[in-house]
Symmetry: C2
Subunit: 367 residues, 2 copies
């Protein structure tokens, strides 16, 4: 039957019908009604991290990566030096975009099954005073590992270094309190744990940092200083906003608040994650990460150790049953990933577990 599959992916993800219905309107991007929508959305996003008074939210068109690139381009001066703490694919992407735009970049690689280390960061900042900024991924979607935001932020603060946080996969689900965690910029996007549709990102910037960022960006479209200044002056986006995506995110954030905000969302995702992990364990599938460093966002599983296993077949069979899985992103180990996020709960996760079980039996894999 023609029914949307459940997306067990790190985004785009399954959204509520209410969120999608918010896209059935056409908005004038210059009009006061749309400006009010943008202003209220920015206010609500800021409230999620308790940044009122100290921080601002600057939305940006494009995918989350556009916002990460914009954050680096805006915050890091052209003669800055970025140290990227790397334990996965998105860390590497962060390093690549910083390098490409011409910022001096040092990439400190670590094993993908371990969090990055505040102690190592401390030592590196001592050893190389030329480092001006640290690039950090909160939840590395490559494996799903949770990195220690507070500890890293504290080390940066102690050394007086800037911190740019990619909180793409964590924002809205994991607690982030701007009153306790000092960052220059924190980046997230519409189509992740806020459960909007993809098409825009946003960057939460510390006001006193942003005030010094004029002229840093090599890119007109990605200049968050300019985007912010124009928005403050006119209430409008500098360039055509993705109006329907903005409206969907505003609606999704409304539902986020109704549900009980970040604690409620985390509780639901944790429950999803536990249902998933315990269910797949019973089928003989083991998570790649140790439980204590596993964020309840996306889980990497070892592929069944059986010559009959092939991801493509596994994926197609699960899809026929109504569930979209996600490929692994590790080069050394054969894995697959399953997202716990989106407008889904225990029912959907249990159905997914059942579908994976049926798929394995169909493929003749031992469960």
């Amino acid at each position: 039957m023609d029914r949307d599959a459940i997306l067990l992916t790190p985004g785009p993800l399954t959204t509520t019908l209410r969120t999608k219905l918010a896209m059935l309107r056409d908005w004038g991007s210059w009009d006061a009604d749309f400006n009010a929508l943008t202003a209220e959305l920015r206010r609500q996003l800021l409230a999620i991290v308790h940044g009122e008074g100290t921080h601002v939210v600057v939305p940006l068109q494009g995918s989350g990566t556009f916002s990460v690139e914009a954050a680096v381009a805006t915050v890091v001066p052209r003669d800055g030096h970025v140290l990227v703490l790397d334990n996965g694919a998105y860390c590497k992407r962060f390093g690549k975009l910083a390098t490409l735009m011409g910022r001096r970049t040092t990439i400190h690689a670590r094993a993908e099954d371990e969090p990055v280390s505040a102690e190592e960061l401390d030592a590196m900042l001592r050893a190389d005073p030329s480092i001006t900024h640290v690039g950090f991924i909160h939840c590395e979607t490559g494996t799903g590992v949770l990195n220690p935001l507070k500890a890293i932020a504290d080390v940066c603060a102690r050394h007086g270094k800037g911190l740019i946080v990619d909180a793409m996969s964590s924002f809205g689900a994991l607690p982030i309190d701007a009153r306790e965690v000092r960052f220059d910029a924190l980046v997230a996007a519409s189509g992740k744990c806020l459960e909007g549709v993809p098409g825009m990102g946003f960057v939460i910037l510390r006001k006193e940092v942003l005030a010094r960022c004029e002229g840093h960006s090599h890119s007109l479209a990605m200049d968050l200083y300019d985007q912010h200044a124009y928005m403050e002056k006119t209430g409008q986006w500098r360039f055509t906003p993705p109006t329907h995506v903005v409206a969907a995110l505003a609606e999704a954030v409304g539902q986020f608040v109704e549900e009980g905000g970040q604690p409620a969302r985390l509780a639901r995702y944790r429950d999803n994650c536990e249902t998933l992990v315990s269910g797949l364990r019973e089928l003989g599938l083991k998570p790649f990460l140790k439980p204590e460093i596993q964020a309840p966002i996306i889980v990497t599983f070892h592929a069944p150790n059986d010559p009959k296993y092939e991801f493509k077949t596994f994926y197609a069979a699960a899809k026929r049953r109504g569930f979209i899985l996600y490929p692994g992103k590790l080069t050394q180990v054969e894995t697959f990933r399953v997202g716990c996020i989106g407008a889904i709960g225990r029912n959907e996760m249990q159905q997914a577990v059942n579908a994976v079980g049926e798929t394995m039996r169909e493929m003749g894999l031992s469960t």
Copy 2:
């Protein structure tokens, strides 16, 4: 009553319900179904300019300006020299983004009420052989003036110079034939004359040009060479696509084809434009441009020459009647703009004319 206003703006614009309904699905961005949607959309966009075999379509997340910036970053080598033919606000923006990204840029300014000149371009290319690329806006939305694409392209071809065309406001409505018009890159977006929703752009690139563009871009997100290479290899977008926006554009392009393609769309917009201009003329409002250089996309009108006129009041009164007008963008002359594009026809334009008449009488302006 709660009814969407008609957007008489250069985009976002009024879309059909069918187009918006296409957003009521969640797509997995990695999934074969979505890859097929992207592939078919790219094929259809290419067919609009008859670029089969010679050109490729590379879609990009973000607003149209992101795609213009990406086209310049990708096509112009770092030691290139861009000449921008400037007769309006969007030309100036083109010049600004090229300058910011570090490309040597020369801006040749002309009056805003005249098209750019192929003869002048010819003279400039003779005078300065260091120029490698020409930046050109097909329909300058600042005033609505139509610039001579074929003549400019012929001069560039004769001199062996690259040409980057911003066809944001013209694509799909005005004829563009890649078999007859030689360009390196031609840029447009989802939320303009194709009548999709805003949130993505696309660049049509000549294959033999694109093949030489590796490593030009200073930006990871905006590297169209990389975006294209990845898409050819995997069928997927490099970074999260705005899935709902893509689905809406695919649906809108389907309706475009049903309507009769570019000739039918141009005929409808011409009719809209004539209904608008003749109707407002009867109310004593004069277009800013001479008819022969007016594209039937957006029309700039002189504001009523009356101290009782104020745009804000005028705008609000028209909005109360269900029509969203657009402010002028000229600094010397008091004007306002009215778009002729979107999923609207003669009825809506006549209703708009009537609403402007009522508005003027309400404001005590002579009609």
